[in-house]
């Protein structure tokens, strides 16, 4: 990399000085995942108000394939965290093959699983599963409130996308009220768990899809940052240009 390119990069990583954003853009651009919460509970009416934002998300065929579960009992959240960690501990010997007692068998299993589950075992979840197993990384990050998103498996089109819209409405509304959130995809590890399905009352056609940790953040985690700027193909007046 040339010195000039390096300088460009440094410049690119500076926070935005532009303050010409409308309130919606501001919340969208400043939202960061929060992984450190104050113990103070979020008022019930505020949580319910935030869920309203989820209820009014767009969905294919207006099927609204979502339901919510709210958990505000520390012992339930802790028990879920413990069981997710246990799942990770069971997965670790077949994933982290370099340090696995199973040796080449683990390598074969790890590569095969990664082959068939390229998204679920993409680098970041792959690394996180092993780090959660070792107790280095937390699952929910100690929120006073946890929202679980359930998906109706019979949803129109691509219900996962609908759930994404719904969850993001919830997240953005929470941040607009000064709260912090973090999506927790690892709740998926409890999806098939019969004990948790019974305890949380999850039945067909619903399945556990995502978790959202919710609470008052410690410090000020929200703020604008730099992200990769991708190429966008732009067709207009019979020509095509690429904008960055």
């Amino acid at each position: 990399m040339s010195a000039m390119e390096e300088k460009e990069l440094e410049k690119g990583a500076e926070p935005s000085v532009d303050d010409d954003w409308n309130p919606v853009e501001k919340v969208i651009l400043e939202r960061r995942s929060v992984r450190y919460y104050k113990p103070k509970q979020v008022p019930e009416n505020l949580v319910r108000r935030i869920l309203e934002a989820g209820r009014f998300a767009p969905s294919a065929g207006n099927y609204q394939p979502w339901r919510f579960i709210v958990i505000r009992d520390r012992d339930i959240i802790d028990a879920m965290e413990r069981d997710i960690r246990m799942m990770c501990k069971m997965l670790k010997p077949i994933l982290a093959w370099e340090s696995s007692p199973l040796g080449p068998v683990a390598k074969l299993m790890s590569k095969t699983l990664t082959w068939f589950l390229p998204n679920k075992l993409h680098h970041e979840p792959y690394g996180a599963i092993n780090a959660i197993a070792d107790g280095e990384v937390g699952v929910f990050h100690g929120p006073p409130t946890l929202i679980l998103l359930l998906m109706d498996k019979r949803g129109a089109g691509k219900p996962q996308v609908d759930l994404g819209c719904c969850g993001q409405n919830i997240v953005l509304t929470a941040h607009s009220h000064g709260l912090g959130t973090c999506w927790v995809g690892f709740v998926e590890l409890l999806r098939q768990n019969p004990i948790w399905k019974k305890r949380l009352g999850i039945e067909y056609p619903y399945e556990l899809c995502e978790g959202i940790s919710l609470g008052y953040p410690v410090g000020k985690p929200d703020g604008m940052i730099a992200r990769e700027a991708y190429h966008t193909r732009w067709f207009e007046n019979g020509t095509m240009k690429v904008v960055v």
């Binding site: 990069l9 450190y36 370099e98 780090a131």
Partner: protein
């Protein structure tokens, strides 16, 4: 759009091999840092960690290879240039400067530079 060759498509990278995947780069300005430790809490993959206690503590970057690494045997995941550390740091001491890079099956195509939000007003 850039394409991934058939060979790349078929090949699963080894996550602990730095030729196959490189984690993003973060820089910490130790002169500005007041060692509050918030960035350590904000970083999911625990790339940033605090070493030492009390007055002598210092935030450092863990550059070990990810999980099951040949070199370390420790569980670690990647810095993904999420910049959560930069956002939480009130001293402006920290930022991610380059993105993570994956090869083979996860090769990033047309990945751009880290750029703050723009209004395109002018």
């Amino acid at each position: 759009m850039a394409l991934i060759s058939f060979r790349d498509k078929m090949r699963i990278p080894s996550y602990d091999n730095s030729d196959h995947c490189m984690m993003a780069e973060v820089s910490i300005d130790h002169d500005k840092c007041d060692r509050c430790g918030l960035c350590v809490k904000a970083c999911l993959p625990k790339v940033i960690y605090m070493e030492g206690k009390g007055k002598d503590r210092k935030v450092l970057i863990n550059r070990n290879r990810p999980t099951g690494g040949r070199e370390t045997g420790e569980a670690n995941c990647y810095c993904v240039a999420c910049n959560d550390c930069m956002a939480i740091c009130e001293q402006g001491a920290i930022k991610a400067v380059t993105s993570a890079d994956y090869l083979y099956r996860y090769k990033q195509v047309l990945r751009g530079e880290l750029t703050p939000p723009r209004t395109f007003n002018d």
